[in-house]
């Protein structure tokens, strides 16, 4: 049997045209087969296949995939590479999906390490990799859980205790079944609390994502209202293709805007309009709705030259509950009648007359964004979780669920229950260092009067 299959983003993080996610290890083809639609039954190595990244049938991105068979690959092992649109969400989705299918996030330098071990890199190249690791060692050591201060390590320590207690309980039942006072099972029940704590961490990790990546601000509005122009005006560069044809921005595009040392992730997305026959656009629409749902705030844009229509009302409804700024674009073409109707339609919201094209009154937008910053909740309650930790925690959550299910089942086989608990402890071990049999036995002797 081979080593674990690893996965990571291979291109520099951030924006570019294309992002490459790379898998290495014996399971590469199997993992690719599960997350990529478009591979024939017997794929040819070193051949590019067009298809879709998908999550249980739901398409996430159109992409290209290539398989490599060891030793004819970068690492010398079986490998797969997926070229995706360089979008952090898509990249994260691809890595998470691969992890769900049995891969694990690669450690720093691991691809190169494997390549070197398999004789694919010479010493000089490998030294360079080592240097890279050295220079990244601050980030690297942050991945070492023991160094993490604060809530995360406390929470994980709590879950570790709960798992250890469950292990002690179940193992005692196995080793000392004749000691009749030993009633196994109580410790396992304590895992429900651990599962809840994990949910909290994982939910918290979404908040810390917001801190790391910046607040998400979506530009919403019906087709051709000028969203892309606003996006570009705010970023002061031509990023998305603007044209007079409705529906040009078929997918969303994201860019980071820095303001007062804090970043905002500005999303420009497909115009919202009722489903069309065009499948790709339909998919873009669906994703736009998703973007709205994920956004921390919305710039809601209407046309100052036209009274609001059904689409505007619908989009207004969809962005209900979000922090929202009402923008009336095309101030140069504004008509009083239209503005009056806008005020009527959206009572309680002040329309800010702007011109995305000329940059008129964009200060209203930056003022709104700064205000968002001031209203941010106190970040001290947040839990910093990186992707590797997050993957492990999600697996741990899954393991806890299986343990609780098994425990609740009709015939909980003690040794299989113990096996799942061990796997949970192994996962914790990957965060905190190994939990040994001796730790468990120590718990057994400390908690139970054992021995006839």
């Amino acid at each position: 049997m081979d080593e674990e299959t690893i996965v990571a983003l291979a291109t520099p993080p951030g924006r570019g045209g294309i992002a490459v996610v790379r898998l290495s290890g014996s399971q590469s083809e199997a993992v690719l087969g599960q997350i990529f639609q478009g591979l024939p039954r017997a794929p040819r190595p070193r051949h590019s296949y067009h298809g879709h990244l998908h999550d249980a049938g739901r398409r996430i991105d159109e992409c290209l995939a290539v398989l490599f068979r060891g030793p004819r690959s970068y690492s010398g092992e079986d490998m797969a590479e997926i070229s995706l649109h360089a979008n952090p969400f898509i990249v994260e989705a691809a890595v998470s999906l691969a992890c769900r299918c049995g891969a694990r996030p690669a450690l720093a330098g691991e691809f190169s390490y494997r390549a070197f071990r398999n004789g694919k890199l010479d010493l000089l190249q490998a030294e360079a990799v080592n240097e890279l690791i050295r220079s990244n060692s601050r980030a690297f050591s942050l991945m070492e859980f023991g160094n993490l201060e604060g809530r995360l390590s406390r929470e994980v320590a709590g879950i570790r205790r709960a798992l250890l207690k469950a292990a002690v309980d179940v193992e005692t039942g196995i080793e000392f079944s004749e000691d009749q006072h030993v009633a196994a099972g109580g410790g396992v029940a304590g895992l429900a609390g651990a599962a809840a704590a994990l949910d909290g961490i994982l939910a918290g990790s979404r908040f810390s994502e917001a801190l790391n990546r910046g607040l998400r601000v979506a530009i919403a509005g019906r087709v051709n209202v000028g969203k892309s122009s606003l996006f570009n005006a705010l970023l002061l560069k031509e990023r998305s293709i603007t044209s007079a044809l409705p529906g040009t921005t078929r997918d969303y595009i994201e860019e980071t805007l820095r303001l007062d040392g804090f970043s905002f992730r500005l999303t420009d997305m497909a115009g919202l309009r009722p489903a069309s026959a065009d499948d790709v656009e339909h998919e873009g629409m669906r994703r736009s709705l998703e973007q709205i749902a994920r956004a921390d705030a919305v710039l809601f844009m209407v046309d100052a030259s036209r009274p609001p229509g059904r689409d505007d009302v619908e989009i207004h409804r969809l962005t209900e509950g979000k922090r929202r700024l009402l923008l009336a674009n095309k101030s140069d073409l504004a008509r009083e009648e239209a503005l009056r109707r806008i005020r009527e339609r959206f009572p309680g919201e002040t329309p800010h007359l702007v011109s995305a094209r000329s940059g008129d009154n964009l200060g209203a937008v930056t003022a709104f964004l700064k205000e968002l910053l001031r209203d941010m909740p106190d970040p001290s309650g947040a839990v910093a979780v990186n992707l590797r930790q997050k993957t492990l925690l999600e697996r741990l959550r899954e393991t806890l669920r299986r343990i609780l299910d098994r425990q609740a089942g009709t015939a909980p086989e003690a040794e299989l229950l113990a096996e799942e608990i061990r796997r949970g402890l192994d996962l914790i071990g990957e965060l905190t260092g190994a939990v040994s049999a001796e730790d468990v036995l120590h718990g057994v002797f400390a908690s139970f009067c054992i021995g006839k």
């Binding site: 080593e3 330098g109 490998a126 006072h181 190994a434």
Partner: protein, 604 residues
Amino acid sequence: MRIVVIGGGHAGIEAACAVARMGAEAVLLTMHLETVAQMSCNPSIGGIAKGHLVREIDALGGAMARAADATAIHFKVLNRSKGPAVRATRTQNDKAAYRGYLMDFLESVPRLQLYQSVAAGIEVRNGRAVGVRLLEGGLLEADAVVICSGTFLDGRIFIGAASYPAGRANEPPSLQLAENIRALGFATVRLKTGTPMRLHADSIDWGAFTPQPGDEPPQPFSLAPPRRPRNRVLCHLGHTGPEVGHIVRDHLHLSALYSGKIAGIGPRYCPSIEDKIVKFPDRERHHFYLEPEGLRTKEIYANGLSSSLPVEVQRMILKAIPGLERAVIVRPAYAIEYDAIQPTQLHPTLESRQVGRLFFAGQVNGTSGYEEAAGQGLVAGINAVLRARGEPPFILERNEAYIGVMVDDIVRRGVDEPYRLFTARAEYRLQLREDNVFERLGGHALRHDLVSRRDYDREARRLERRRRLLRRLSLAKSRLDDKSETLFQILKRPGMSLPDLERLHGSPLLRGMTLLDASYVEARVKYEGYIEIQEREVAKMKKMAATVIPPDLDFAAVAGLSTEIRQKLSQARPATLRDAACLPGVTPAALNAIGIHLALKHGR
């Protein structure tokens, strides 16, 4: 070629037998021929993890399983309600019959010579053992020596305030050998263990106890049991009450354990009655078992009442236990302190690192239990012959056998209390079962001439029958809950057993199959998936074990290690990447960093 084995206990017997079976000449040196194969403590063999060991010993041609089957008077499978991996066999044995059976057997083994004498020291020349000096004078020359001296090295017995040197009750210890071992430079550790009182059967009010019958049908240990197993006695379960707690607390200052007389460390899993009462003051009741020591003796072993209190206090305790008010002590409980060598001084072959061709096995290595001793005796005996012949060593891996887990544990980590096997110590527990010892160890046994070709073929045929049934289960279908599923899938459901499946399917599946055959098949079905995960772990473990960390590696030069981990590694100096992985707090990221560093600096 001659191998001398010192000590005629459970380790020594297996060592000498293995040597003789492999074609070398074995001399089994014992202080006292009458007590060869003595069960010094409880009258039983096996138990959880220990039953597993006994079957492994059997599969490797050892004597223990057959001796236990031949002399068992009560059979039980523990954890019967749990899955195949943790079910384990235990027998109660007639101690005198056990000694007799093994003595007869030893006398019949070709190339094995029994010799009653006292070892005074190991003769070492050029850094290797060349023989054993005897107290009577003279030197017994040997190509290798195996020391299986049990608790006899500087043994000292404690009962209350009294103490005297002994290897076992009223048997002299090995003082000269202990001194010699220390002089050879071995680091020793002082350990302690204890044994309960033996009572006269006629003085016990049996009506006060709950009878514990053996299992029907009884299940023997050996692949080829010497006779039909039969339950002949009952064990009994009883409880102490709060009164015993008061007595123990009032007299604690008289206990050798609590008065500070005993410095040795005792086993946590086998506490004395005073330990139980001190450490768990909230428990008013402690249970114990009454177990017959044999068919022709009235002695009853009071399992659970071991103590180092004075005999008069032991009597007071008995008086306070319902049913034992008039119990007569035939042999008092006692604690014993003894020297063990720190087993980190041994190779995984159990050969010592500092003196070549000198092997250690059994309790002298800091373990406890007859089965643990026997398993080590086997390993030491086999390796003594291989070493003397210049052949590659015999080392069982952690995923192959509990014997492998035990040896790896003690030589790698050492002991700080008497070491006992638990299934919890095995990472690959689902694979180390009582039902698959042949599959795991049959090949090793045949290769080293430990079993006959005929016995091997018989078990190979049995394995083929089991596999045939498995194939049948994956092909045949039955309807359950309105769905047609393969029998394999149906059996995989929680709570479903092979007999259940037979009823459902309506045709005999288990004809000609033993309980263990059924257990094997169930395990293969129920553990499917889990076993594959474990196999991946095994592959990873092997790869890591093969990556050697040079002893002079400067961990400060390894990029990407946290200061804390760096310190830990510098202190522990792990020999391989796997040893590093076993250190607390060492993460996979750290292991990766070390791996990269090694690849760069030391080539592949």
